[in-house]
C-alpha cells in the first residue's frame, strides 16, 4: 500500500505529498484529469501487471479502495 501511494504520488506534478494517503479521494484532486487517468492505468500495468478499467476507477472512492481492487485481480 505504501509503495502504491508513493507510485501514485510520482505520476503527479502539482499535488503536495501530504495530500496523498490511503484515504485520498483521488478523483477529486485538482490535478485529476484524463492524462493522470491514463498514467494511473499505465502505472498499475507496469508495477502490478494488472489491467484496471474505467469501472474500477469509478467505483473506488479512495486510493485504498483502488488498491484493494487491484489486489483482488
Amino acid at each position: 500500500m505504501e509503495e502504491f501511494i508513493e507510485s501514485f504520488y510520482d505520476i503527479l506534478d502539482e499535488t503536495e505529498k501530504n495530500e496523498i494517503n490511503k484515504n485520498t479521494d483521488f478523483k477529486n484532486l485538482d490535478e485529476w484529469d484524463s492524462m493522470v487517468t491514463l498514467m494511473l492505468i499505465a502505472m498499475v500495468d507496469e508495477n502490478y501487471a494488472k489491467q484496471i478499467s474505467g469501472t474500477d476507477l469509478k467505483e473506488s472512492l479512495t486510493l485504498e479502495n483502488l488498491f484493494m481492487r487491484i489486489q483482488s485481480k
Binding site: M39, D45, Q51
Partner: protein, 251 residues
Amino acid sequence: MKEDNFSLIDKTILVTGATSGIGFEICKQITVAGGNFIGIGRNIEGLHQFIVDNKLALSKAVKFDLTALDDIHLLVSELHLKIDGFVHSAGIANVSPMHFFNYSEYEKIRKINLDCVLVLFSELLKKKKINKKSSVIFISSISAIRGAKGNGLYAITKSALDTISKVYANELSSKFIRVNTLQPGMVETDMSLQAENILSKDIMDIDRAKYPLGYGEVKDIALPVIFLLSNASKWITGQSIVIDGGRTSIL
C-alpha cells in the same frame, strides 16, 4: 453486357484481420461484390462458418499468427493462385502514455500493425503472387494524424503505414499496383469495446459526441475498401483517406 467498374468478379483478395470487426466485414463485402477472399487470422472458426454457410468454394480462411514473421514465406508459398488485391486490417491497440514507454509492448504492437506487412508484401512480390493492376489497402487510423493521449505506439505504426504506402505506390506504379491507406475514426468493433472497458463508458460517450455523424459501423469502412479494390478507383494511389464521420474536420 455493360461493364461494371465496381465489381470484384474473378478477383481474389488477401485479407489480414479477416476474422473480426472491419476485416470480417471486408470479406463479406468482397463476396457481395462478386469476388473471392483468402482471410487470415488466428481464430478462424467464425470466418470458416461464413464460407460454409454461403458455399463460397473459391474463398478460404487460413489460420496464421502474423507475429511469426519468419514463417510468412511459408504462408505465401502455400498460396495456390495469384491475388488481385491485398487488405491489411489486422491490428492491435493499447492505451498508455509515452511516459511509460515500454520496448517490448512497442515491439508487440509494431509486429502486428506494421512489420508483418513489410515481410508479407515483399514475399508476395518476390514470389510473383500479386497480379498487375492489383489494389493494396492498409487500414491506418486518424490516430496517425492526431496526437491522442495514450495512443503513441499505435500512432507510430499507423503513420508508418501511411508513409510506406506512398513509397510502395511509387515503386509499384510500373505494374499499375495501387497502394492506399484508409484512416478510420472510431468504429464499433471489439477494438472499440476494449477501449470502452479500459476508459469507461462515460469517457467514450464524451468522445462519441465529438463525431458529427456518431461512431462508425464496420460497413462504413468496408464499402470504401471495396471501392478502392475495384477498377472504379484506378487513378487513386499513394493516398491516405480519412473516414471518420467528420471527427477531424470540426473544431
